[in-house]
Each structure stands twice: as structure tokens, then as C-alpha cells.
């Protein structure tokens, strides 16, 4: 990234959202506690805390998983991406508290090792003996790995594809948690509202992801495909806003076509940092700036702004009759290209 190494790269916005996040979490836990004491005064303290931390983590995980598709649907949500990892670590802390309290309350104080008990106390195939706690433990393990590797240090050392694949495990964790909740607390609580809340959460997330995917799918398959040799017809120059891009799918690869300072540049749409959509970014100070995390690239060669060393493929472009044609064969990442000059073409 184009900034020096820090433990956390705080900005006023990040700090503000992080503060709101923890005020929100604290308020949730306090409200849950007060409501428990009011409505079920005989509830054990441990059980109350287990439920408070567990439900807070479950709710926060839904918010975290909604951020990605929301950003694809409406770019005004993009700033939330910068705080998503903070949310993820906060979610892990809540889930860890839930897990530790469960182990302390239900699995200690006998001759069986607590961790063995987590995985062995339920081992049947019926609903009442289904091993729901094992699924919770698996989800917590995944969240531990994700929280531990959430820093940019790991992103750089593991490389973006591996890091991204690792963090896609959150969906496995989510499935495990849904099993954990539906086969656990939902078997004890008989209010329909519990079921409806979980159903609404799952449905909302699925709908958001499908809607975002359909939106991208439409973008990919509504573009023109006229070709001339290796060149493919794309957009009229005038349809590309200054310092912004239009995205087109060329033989399965998304290409971002930027207009800047009277020139047309085409680069891969995929940011090497975290696979962000560069074409939804903007040219700032002469650099293509990724909308997800602010990674910057020089448009003329696809090299990241120093000190970063990432490179993206570039594409040759020409302008014919006011329309941008792009060579569908990418140049090697970091290869300099000669931009198509708009006034020469005209």
C-alpha cells in the first residue's frame, strides 16, 4: 500500500467508526443484560453472558458479511470496507468470550478434558444429540485464523490470492454457525421470533449476495463484442468520465478503461491487494486508486505506487472513430503501454 507500516493505520473516520462499533457492542450487551434481568430474573449469570456474547457475535457477523455485496450494489457503502477487518476482529473477540464462557460453564469441573468434552458430549444423529457445539468450535477456529491474519503484514506475506482464499473461509464459518445456532439454542427456545430472526438473517445475506452477483453478471454480458483481429470494440470515448473508468469483460477477464488527461489507459480490473474492482476507482494524483482499500497504480505501466511492488496487467488501446478498441491479450503485469491519445484520434 502507499503508506508506511503501522500496527493500525488509524484515520479519523476509522477511529470514529471503531468507537461507534464498540459503543454499539457495549450498549447491546448492557441492554441484553438488563432485559434478561427484567424478563428472566432467575437466569444464571453465566448463561446470560453466554447468550449476550453469542447473539452479539452472530448479529455482527451478519453485518460484516453484508458489507461486501452492499459495496457492489451501492458505492456509498465503500468506506465501511476500511473498517470491516476491525469488525471481524471484534466479532472474534465476542465469539471467543462466548466460547470461553461455554467451556467454563458446561465443560469444566469433571474428569473429562474440557476440549474433549466440547467435541464428544454430543455425538448422535438425532436432533437432541446432534453435535452442535463442535460446529461452533470449528467456526471459532476459523475466526481465530482470520483474526490472527487480518493485518496487512499477513496480506503481504501470504500474497493476496492466498490471503483472500483464507478469508473466504468466513462463509464456511458462517454455515457452521448457522448449524450451531439452529441445532443448539433453537432447540431450546420455542418462540417463533428466534426462528424468524435467523431466517431473516440468512435470507437477507443470500439475497444481497445474489443481487450483487446478478449486477456484475449483467455488466459482463451487456458489453459489445465487435472485434478486429486482437482488438475488441468497447465504449465511445465520451462515455468514459474523466479520471474514471468503464469496465468491460474481454474473453472472461474484466478490463478497466480509464480516461485521464486526454489519454485512454486499459488495465486489469482486479487489484492485487485484495481483488478490488479498480474500474470502480478513480485516478487521483495521476494514479488509479482502488475503491476498496486505496491501493494505487500508475496507469501507464500497471506498477503500484512506491513503496508497494504489486503489478497488474496492462492492455494496448487504440481509438477508432471516437470509440475505444482494446487488445484482448494482456501485457505482462507491469509492462509499459503507450496510451491512446484522444486529440490525435480526433
Amino acid at each position: 500500500m502507499s503508506f508506511s507500516y503501522k500496527a493500525i493505520d488509524w484515520t479519523p473516520f476509522k477511529r470514529a467508526i471503531n468507537n461507534y462499533l464498540w459503543v454499539g457492542i457495549s450498549s447491546y450487551l448492557a441492554l441484553f443484560t438488563l432485559a434478561s434481568i427484567l424478563f428472566t430474573p432467575t437466569i444464571s449469570l453465566n448463561i446470560m453472558l453466554i447468550r449476550a456474547f453469542g447473539s452479539a457475535a452472530f448479529l455482527l457477523l451478519h453485518i460484516i458479511l453484508a458489507i461486501g455485496p452492499l459495496c457492489r450494489i451501492d458505492s456509498r457503502f465503500l468506506p465501511l470496507l476500511y473498517i470491516r477487518r476491525h469488525m471481524g476482529v471484534s466479532c472474534f473477540i465476542l465469539a471467543l468470550m462466548h466460547g470461553l464462557l461455554v467451556i467454563f460453564t458446561h465443560h469444566t469441573g469433571s474428569d473429562v478434558h474440557p476440549l474433549v468434552s466440547v467435541f464428544s458430549s454430543d455425538s448422535g444423529s438425532t436432533i437432541s444429540t446432534f453435535p452442535f457445539q463442535a460446529f461452533g468450535a470449528i467456526a471459532l477456529g476459523i475466526m481465530l485464523v482470520m483474526a490472527a491474519t487480518s493485518h496487512d503484514f499477513w496480506l503481504k506475506n501470504l500474497s493476496a490470492p492466498i490471503w483472500k482464499s483464507l478469508h473466504m473461509l468466513v462463509y464456511i464459518a458462517y454455515i457452521c454457525i448457522i448449524i450451531h445456532v439452529t441445532m443448539g439454542i433453537l432447540q431450546t427456545e420455542n418462540s417463533i421470533v428466534y426462528f424468524l430472526l435467523i431466517f431473516a438473517g440468512v435470507t437477507t445475506l443470500c439475497t444481497l449476495h445474489v443481487y450483487a452477483a446478478i449486477k456484475e453478471f449483467r455488466t459482463d454480458f451487456t458489453a459489445k463484442t465487435n472485434s478486429d483481429g486482437d482488438l475488441v470494440e468497447t465504449f465511445p470515448v465520451e462515455d468514459i468520465p474523466e479520471d474514471r473508468a468503464r469496465i468491460i469483460n474481454l474473453h472472461g477477464e474484466r478490463v478497466a478503461i480509464f480516461k485521464h488527461d486526454g489519454k485512454i489507459y486499459a488495465v486489469s480490473n482486479v487489484c492485487q491487494h485484495q481483488n478490488g474492482p479498480l474500474g470502480e476507482g478513480k485516478i487521483i494524483n495521476g494514479c488509479i486508486t482502488c475503491p476498496w482499500h486505496g491501493m494505487q497504480y500508475h496507469p501507464e505501466n500497471g506498477c503500484a505506487k512506491e513503496p508497494s511492488t504489486e503489478k497488474i496487467p496492462t492492455f494496448n488501446t487504440v481509438i477508432k472513430d471516437g470509440v475505444v478498441w482494446v487488445d484482448h491479450k494482456p501485457n505482462l503485469p507491469g509492462s509499459p503501454v503507450k496510451p491512446a491519445v484522444i486529440h490525435e484520434a480526433h
Partner: protein, 266 residues
């Protein structure tokens, strides 16, 4: 050539994470959504506890140690028989039966039960109780034999009557969790805890829910009053169980064995 359509105003604002300020409209948009999310979350925080099942009125006064004196009996399960104070009617047994357990998920060890059986003792512990049953979580090494040099109280007689063989259907639990070690002390989420209690020697309990939020509780004991720890896999589940129902003082005891559960499917 198609003219440029003016882009939506929202797209003109562009925020990069390492910039100091978020564009004002984007900031307003986000903060309005955050208010909505927080409102929903706070509603959930109230709704979930409000709609929880109403638990039995059971308690564990963990921080309140009490000293008790009574008659220690290991059969049918380790209990302390404590004389009821004051004048009581003839229909009420003159001794209260307090089940005994050790801290955490352990029963009174058999050798300890053997050591103090049929003796007057004093002990220290914490109380777990619901409307009809009480258990003492005894502090280890706090049991002392009381030496009466004269006027030793007579051995308490607890009326015992068999009601015959019956098949009962209910949820099998650990008596200690049901009486307040955790509240709620039943249900799927608590099964692991109940299983460990029973494998630790705590007597299982069959709870039958009756109309109008009333329950019948039966303490389960094995043949020859041996704890049936092997029943643990059935704990936390609904079972049909056959056995001899015995009224012991004001308690209901079900004497059974593993082959009598769910029509002998064990």
C-alpha cells in the same frame, strides 16, 4: 454517438481509506444507516431475552455458605436429613431431605458416603433449590461427625412407600443442573453440562411437564441404590422409562436400570 449520461451524484464522491475525511454526503448516508443498524440491534437485545422460555424458579446461592446439621444417609442417594423447625402437621414429614453433591460436576464420593452413612453430621456448603427440592453443594472436608455425649437424637424415619411399576415419559436431566447449578438447567444447549454431571455421579432426574407450568420430578437411582452413570447418553433427551416409583418422604424416586429406557432399546 450516444451522449454521456450525467452520472448519479452519489458517484462523484470518492473516499480513500487513508484520507482524513469522508465526503459529506457519503458520511451522512453511512451514519443514517448506522443509526438504523444500531436501532435494530438494540431491539434484538431486548427481544431475545423477553421471548426466552420462562425458566423454573431454581437458584444456586454460590456465594452464601451455610452450616447445616443433620443425619447423613447414603441410601437411596447421599442426602442430609434435617429436622424441620417448629410445630408441623402430621402429614408433613418431620425431616427435610437435602440431596448432597460436591462442587462442580461431581457427586459425593462413595468412600465419603460410606464413611458418614447413618451418622449425625455437620457440614458446610451452598444451597441449590427450586420449589420442591433442595441440594447442598458440600465443601470437601467440611463434614464432621457430631458426637452427642448424651441424648443422641433417634435415627430419623423417613416414610417410604412403593407405588408399583410405571412407565413415565419426560426429559432426563442432571438433578444438580435442574435445581439451579445453571438456570435454565435443561434443554439442548445445556445437554453437555448435564451429561458431565451424570457421569460425575450426580443423580439423574426425570422431569415431567404437566399443564399450567407444573412439573413432577423423579430422582433416578439404579438397582441396589447404585448411581446409574451409564444413563448419561440419554440425558438431555425425551425418554420413556420404566421402573418402580417410590415415595420417599416428600420426594419421588424412580428405581430403574438401563434396560428399562425407551422400551429396552439400550
Amino acid at each position: 454517438m450516444k451522449p454521456i449520461e450525467p452520472r448519479d451524484d452519489k458517484d462523484q464522491e470518492f473516499f480513500i481509506g487513508w484520507e482524513q475525511k469522508v465526503p459529506p454526503r457519503q458520511k451522512k448516508f453511512l451514519y443514517n444507516r448506522l443509526i438504523g443498524i444500531f436501532t435494530f440491534a438494540f431491539l434484538v437485545a431486548i427481544l431475545l431475552p423477553a421471548l426466552q422460555v420462562h425458566y423454573s424458579q431454581s437458584f444456586h446461592y454460590k456465594n452464601r455458605l451455610v452450616n447445616l446439621e443433620g443425619y447423613f444417609t447414603k441410601n437411596p442417594l447421599p442426602s442430609l436429613l434435617v429436622k424441620r423447625p417448629g410445630g408441623i402437621g402430621e402429614e408433613i414429614p418431620s425431616y427435610s431431605i437435602y440431596y448432597l453433591s460436591y462442587p462442580q460436576k461431581r457427586a459425593i464420593p462413595l468412600e465419603v458416603a460410606d464413611m458418614y452413612d447413618s451418622q449425625w453430621v455437620s457440614l458446610r456448603g451452598t444451597l441449590l433449590f427450586n420449589q420442591s427440592d433442595t441440594m447442598i453443594e458440600v465443601q470437601p472436608r467440611s463434614i464432621d461427625v457430631i458426637n452427642y455425649y448424651e441424648n443422641t437424637p433417634p435415627r430419623p424415619i423417613i416414610p417410604e412407600k412403593s407405588l408399583g411399576i410405571h412407565e413415565l415419559k419426560g426429559e432426563l436431566l442432571a438433578s444438580k443442573t435442574y435445581l439451579g447449578a445453571t438456570n435454565p438447567g435443561y434443554g439442548k444447549a445445556l445437554r453437555a453440562s448435564s451429561v458431565l454431571h451424570v457421569t460425575g455421579g450426580i443423580a439423574p432426574m426425570l422431569v415431567i411437564n404437566l399443564p399450567e407450568d407444573t412439573t413432577h420430578e423423579f430422582i433416578l437411582i439404579g438397582e441396589n441404590n447404585i448411581p446409574i452413570e451409564a444413563i448419561a447418553p440419554y440425558v438431555g433427551t425425551e425418554v420413556k422409562i420404566k421402573g418402580e416409583v417410590i415415595v420417599w418422604g416428600d420426594k419421588l424416586v424412580l428405581k430403574t436400570n438401563l434396560t428399562m429406557i425407551n422400551g429396552g432399546q439400550s
